[in-house]
Structures are given as C-alpha cells and as structure tokens.
C-alpha cells in the first residue's frame, strides 16, 4: 500500500463510475485494515473480468489479492477458514451464475456459524456478486439470485445503486462483523456520479429516499434504481410526483421509510429484475400490506422479470423492467 496509491485514489475521488468507486472503496478498506484480503478467479493480474480489483494486486501484493483456481465452493470455504482466524476476506464471484457451486458453503456454513456457535464465532466475509442483466450476455452471466440469499437467515444482503454508495457500502460491508452478500449492479458499473470521500456514510442497512414525491411510491434496488428514477422524472410530464426509494439493504429489509412513504402516497410499485415469484417484491408487498393496509389506495404492484430462465441476449430488453413498464404500473395503481 504505497503513498502513491492513496493519492491516486483521492485524486479521482469526485466523479467516479460505480466500478471505479468500488475499486477505490476496496483499496481504502485494504489500506485501513491489513486483515482484509481479496480472493477470486482472475482478480489479480487481470483485475477481475469487470476490473473491479484493477491494480490492487500490484499495490498490495499476491498475499492479499489472491488469484484462486476455478473453485467457488473452495473460495468461500477458504474464506470461512480465514475469517475464523481473524481475516476479513472479500470473495469475488465472477458472475451471478457461478455462485451456485458455492451455495452449499454459503447456506450451510457462512450463514449458520454464528448461530450454531452460540454467537461465539463471527464471520466477517464479504461475497461480491456482479448481478443482473442488460449487458447482452448469456443466462448464467445475467441472473438475479438475491432472493436465495435474502431468504437465508444469518446472511445480510445489500446492493449498491450509485457510485457514492458503491464506495461507502463496500467499506461498510468489509468492516461489518457479519457475512454480507454484496450484490453489484453489473450493467451500471460504468455509470458515473459524485462520490464524497470525506462525508459521513449513510448507515449500511438503511433504505433511502432518493427522490421525494407525493403521488405514488416506487421502491427499487441495484440496477433498477436508475429505471425508477428515470420513471419518476418522466412522470412529472403526467403531473405525477413519484417518491423513489432505494432499498439498499435486502436483508435485513429496512421498510420504515417505505411505510412512511406509502402512508402519504397510498400507492406502491416495487421494481426488480428478478422474477416476481417469491422475489423481494413479494416480501415488500406482504409487509406493506400488513403495516399500511388502511393507507393503501391500490394493491402493491410489482414490475419484475418474468418467471422464466433469463432469456437470450436479443430478448433481454423484453424481459428487463423499463421506464414504460414502471409508468404503466403507476397508471394501473391510479386506475384502481
């Protein structure tokens, strides 16, 4: 960790892409804590397929940025052992569809160690997964597996949607003593925005109102936050003010801001890329119905991917929720 590395990170720290913000966040976490390690397939010399770990092996050495064999189960299993011995491993899963070989370790060990050890063991592991579609790739490079992990007690699941959150949330996740599945919106890696490297980070497991509005609430996370914001901007033309909330934390869910919002707007649309069937939207809808029943003017509506395997690249535009589908759901909510 050279002095040069620090300055280069700081110099760039105004407008950054999500990918670069993650890279800088990882760098800072490694500087702050020598126990932070990165491991994964091609994360070293190549800097990962999306270059999120670019330059880190060069600056922190091969002992801290470890190129592993193709062995997702082994990567996560090894991370557990390292965590048990005081390290803070950050595992990169190359694409969403390759996390499944590691699923056993994640569900049976990572999620349960703390509980079954009567709270004696903590596993500060971060498992980074670039997720979702929109890059014209095949099915196992485009999936949204977040519900599998959110369903599993003992795991925390978060997703960043803008560069500032990318920068801070990855550091907060690494600093957390609990295992965190860190879902990265891969199609948004190249999107730029302001990063405030000196400011106070927003709490990790908190939802955040990104745009205030009075007429309907739109909840999204990860790659769909951009779509929700665009929809809100477009809705102004129809004379509607949409309130957009970024969930940020998928487990635990922080629905306080959503309840507050729905009590004012009476309408809620939840947006995600994953299929609707037993997705995050189902849980949000159920809880909002329980808490805000008398405030609701219409049922909670979901705008999601369809209940099919992720389609071929040419069809993904049909599959992925877009601005029109969000606005259509808002219309349907008003038509109720």
């Amino acid at each position: 960790m050279t002095g040069q590395a620090v300055t280069s990170a700081e110099k760039a720290a105004t407008t950054l892409s999500i990918g670069k913000a993650l890279n800088n966040g990882l760098r800072r976490a490694m500087e702050d804590d020598p126990k932070v390690l990165i491991m994964g397939e091609d994360v070293g010399k190549l800097g990962g397929v999306f270059r999120i770990t670019d330059g880190l092996q060069k600056d922190f050495g091969e002992d801290r940025v470890i190129d592993t064999p193709l062995a997702e189960s082994g990567i996560v299993g090894t991370a557990i052992g390292l965590a048990l011995r005081g390290y803070r491993p950050v595992c990169e899963i190359q694409f969403d569809g390759f996390v499944y070989p590691a699923y056993d370790q994640i569900v049976s060990q990572v999620a349960k160690f703390h509980y079954r050890s009567r709270g004696q063991v903590r596993l500060p592991i971060v498992i980074r997964i670039p997720f979702g579609g929109g890059i014209g790739a095949v099915e196992h490079h485009s999936e949204s597996p977040e519900a599998y992990f959110s369903h599993t007690a003992g795991l925390k699941v978060v997703s960043c949607a803008n560069p500032n959150d990318a920068y801070w949330m990855i550091q907060q996740a690494i600093a957390s003593d609990d295992p965190i599945i860190f879902m990265e919106p891969k199609r948004r890696y190249w999107e730029k925005g302001q990063v405030d490297t000196d400011g106070e980070p927003y709490p990790l497991h908190s939802a955040r109102v990104l745009r205030p509005g009075t007429d309907a609430t739109v909840v999204a996370y990860g790659p769909m936050v951009r779509v929700a914001l665009d929809a809100a901007a477009a809705a102004v033309e129809d004379g509607r003010e949409l309130e957009v909330i970024d969930l940020r934390s998928l487990s635990p869910l922080d629905l306080g801001p959503v309840y507050d919002s729905v009590r004012r707007t009476g309408r809620l649309v939840v947006v995600h890329e994953a299929p609707s069937n037993l997705g995050l939207g189902s849980e949000v809808a159920a809880r909002v119905t329980e808490k805000c029943f008398y405030s609701l003017e219409a049922p909670v509506l979901r705008v999601t991917g369809f209940n099919v395997p992720y389609p071929a690249a040419r069809l993904e535009e049909e599959y992925l929720p877009d601005l029109d589908r969000v606005l259509d759901a808002v219309d349907r909510s008003f038509g109720w």
Binding site: E41, D42, G44, K45, L46, V49, D67, T68, P69, L70, A71, E72, S73, G74, G97, F98, Y100, P101, I135, G136, A137, V138, E139, H140, H141, P311, A312, A313, R314
Partner: protein, 301 residues
Amino acid sequence: MASVVSDTDLDLLLLIRAFEEALLDLFASGEVSGTTHTCLGQEYVPVALEPMLRDDFVLGNHRSHGHYLARFGDPAPLLAEILGRAGAPCAGVGGSQHILRDGFVTTGVQGQGVAVATGMALHYQRTGQRRIAAAYIGDGTWGEGVVYEALNMAQLWQLPLLVVVENNGIAQSTPTTRQMAGSVASRAAAFGVEYTGLATTDIGDIRRRLGPMIDEIRSAPHPLVVEFDTVRLGPHSKGDDTRDAHQLALARQRDWLGALRAADPERVDAARARQRAHVARVVEAVRERPLSEWRSPDAPA
C-alpha cells in the same frame, strides 16, 4: 514420422479456424452481443477424436464451437444459434455456450458436464450399449469439486466415461502453474482412473494412440482421462488476453497450422482459402435470415 493429413481432416480443421476467425470479426463489428470463446489453436483435438465418437454422446463446455463443427461439419446452424437467426438448433436461446444437437450438448458452467456425462455413461454401461460419454474440459476446470465427485463415481462403477482435457496452459488469465497443484495425471491416478497424455498435434498419431483405448472402454467399460497439451492462440473470450508478446509468440509457434503449412504450403493454403470463402458465404446467408422464433409448447395460447 508425421502422418499426411487427409483432405477431409484438413478441410475440417480449416473450417473451424475460419469460423472462429469470422466470429471474432462479427464480434468486433458489433453484430454479436455477449461473449464468445474461440478454440483457435485447439481445432485438431475434436477433429482427431470425432470419427471415434460418432455414436457416442459428447458434452462440451464454453469453448465448444470446434467440438460442434468437428461433429456436424455444418457451420450454418451454429452461426444461427450464435446470431439468433432462423435455423438455430436451440432457436438462439442457448447461444454460443449452450448448444444441443443430436448426441451433443454443451454448458458454459465449468465442470458440470463431467457429472452429466457420468450419468449418461451409467446408462450406457447398464444397457450394454458399447457407447461412451465424452466430456471436454479445460485445465482450469480441474479446480471445480464436481469433477472429482464424478471421477470417483465413474471409476467406482466402472463407467465408459472419456474425459478429454484440453490443457492450453491457461484459464482465462491464470496460468495453469498458478491454479493447479500436482497434475491431471496424478489426479486421475488418485482415483485409479486410466490416463494418457498427448503432446502431438498430428491427427493420425492421435487416432493411432487413442483408437485402441477408446475401443477398450467401449467393450470393457471404465473411465479414461486423455490430456492434450495444447495452446490457446486467441484471447480467452474477446480482447482479454493477459499474456505478453513473448508468450503469444511461443503459442503461435505451436500452432498446428504452421506445421501443416511447412509440410505442404500449397495444398494447405488452397484449403484455407476455400474454407474462408465457405464461411464467408455462410455468414452472408445466415445474416440475412429472419430472427429465430421459439414458442414453448407449454406456453399458454
């Protein structure tokens, strides 16, 4: 003594070469989205093996265009699958990495094919069919645990499983020396699985060596691991080669095409021009086709 390559084999080798080169061009010009992995440098492996596997089941991986072309010889359906045009075996839903056609299936998720092949081999053994299930994998894929679960079962149950290892010395950006402890040979030995390593690119030689072994696993079923010491001439997928100029030059020196040209330049160049023209015509024709269509029989009307 190097054997003389037959016209059929030469054409097939150069068909695969021309196909992969054309595909990289199509990607460069933005006509194909997503990703693709070409088998440049490794074409001879399936060309040598295919005649010995005609009635068998072949399971490919992410880098299987050559495996497909060696088996079926016709590039149009494969290109249609990749471009999502009419005439694609899986209507473009499978794409470059998930191809299904008679006795042939691929998956882009590393390692899984070996276990699936094991199941097929179990069927062949139980039904006494004298057929085998052959799975192609790379050296890097030996990192996946499922490979060992499958090898154990195949040996335990004496299944006619052929694991074809294309060891091109690298997995994406990670050299084999940085991701594999021991060797493929010693790993096979750990399970008591028969193993053969081949450094040659000579198709006649490969067939002479493997023919009897493959016959044998047909008649007295058991697994066999064959490891080819080969080279990847192109990038892992597109434009993502981390090797330096020297390493790439070394790889190119080992190109089978160089050896064949040295022996008979005129014949090889003529075949090369022929196959390039053939592939160019296929590209033109498939490009003009309508987009592929597929409606699941289960879909509501």
